[in-house]
């Protein structure tokens, strides 16, 4: 295989790895909503002294 072919293969690999699942080019905006399974750090936790957000109705802001 010629050097040109190796160079083309290497370039293709670099291009594919740039779009792979590490999230660099497919990453969602940080504020995007996704399923809870995708956000295990945001799953419901035992009560911590105040009402969890899922028990606050739409439009209500407590201060």
């Amino acid at each position: 295989m010629s050097r040109l072919a190796y160079a083309l293969l290497g370039s293709a690999w670099l291009l594919l790895s740039a779009c792979s699942s590490d999230g660099s080019s497919n990453a969602k905006p940080s504020g995007a909503l996704s399923a809870c399974l995708e956000r295990p750090d945001q799953l419901p936790r035992p009560p911590s002294g105040k009402l969890p957000c899922d028990l606050i109705p739409p439009g209500l802001s407590l201060e």
Binding site: L51, L55, P58, L62, E63
Partner: protein, 231 residues
């Protein structure tokens, strides 16, 4: 420290036993949904002074429609109608031979009915319980009391809580009539909000309401108020 807990537990048990013992004929199927046909169950928790229940009659108020009792193995079912053909009473009667010598069973009697289109109200269905002792003596207990004063001798009528149709998750309602009995109407809700006031039957959630800044306890709902309820 253990004694107060034990005392409170015994007091709670006594209250539970007391209320259960008093409620011989009551609604055993939870709240009904307004303007919807559904099964309503009447639980007969006890007979009369040790005698088995022989007959149960349920009076149907005018606000309830589409009444159809379900057959069950308690006994024969009879429907009483008025001149217009509207069902005004349903009666279940045991056969003579199936009356037990003692009060040992719990009975559940079912009617499919359509609750009135009046959410956040209560429908009273007076009941008449006839018991028959081993010697053939019959006793009738009328469960007909509606909004009786504390200590009244009149036994309470089975009370059906009527709620609006709901869906899992958040539900937004406007309450036409004021609601004081939050536990009765929202006993199976996760939480109820009216403005920044909230109510829950769950003791943990109730405590969180009290410790959450900006939130306070909801004790009643005024007529015309908008509420959020999560199921």
């Amino acid at each position: 420290m253990q004694r107060p807990i034990l005392t409170a537990t015994l007091a709670g048990l006594a209250a539970l036993v007391s209320s259960t013992a008093q409620a011989h004929v009551s609604i055993a199927s939870g709240p009904a949904f307004a303007n919807t046909s559904q099964e309503v169950a009447f639980g007969v928790g006890h007979g009369c002074e040790g005698a088995d229940t022989y007959r149960v009659q349920i009076d149907i108020p005018a606000s309830v429609s589409s009444v159809r009792p379900e057959l069950n193995d308690f006994g024969q079912v009879d429907v009483e109608t008025d001149a217009a053909g509207t069902v005004v009473a349903v009666t279940w009667t045991k056969s003579e031979t199936s009356v037990l010598p003692a009060d040992s069973l719990y009975y559940k009697l079912l009617i499919r009915l359509k609750a009135p289109a009046q959410p956040f109200t209560m429908v009273y269905l007076p009941a008449h319980q006839t018991c028959r002792a081993a010697d053939g003596t019959e006793t009738v207990v009328d469960w007909v009391g509606i909004d009786e004063a504390e200590g009244s001798d009149v036994e309470p009528a089975p009370a059906l809580y009527v709620l609006p149709v709901r869906f899992p998750g958040w539900n937004k309602y406007t309450v036409d009539n004021g609601v004081d009995d939050l536990k009765g109407f929202f006993g199976d809700a996760q939480i109820v909000w009216a403005g920044s006031k909230a109510f829950s039957v769950n003791p943990t959630t109730t405590e969180l309401i009290s410790t959450t800044e900006g939130a306070s306890a909801l004790t009643s709902i005024a007529a015309g108020q908008q509420i959020w309820v999560k199921y």
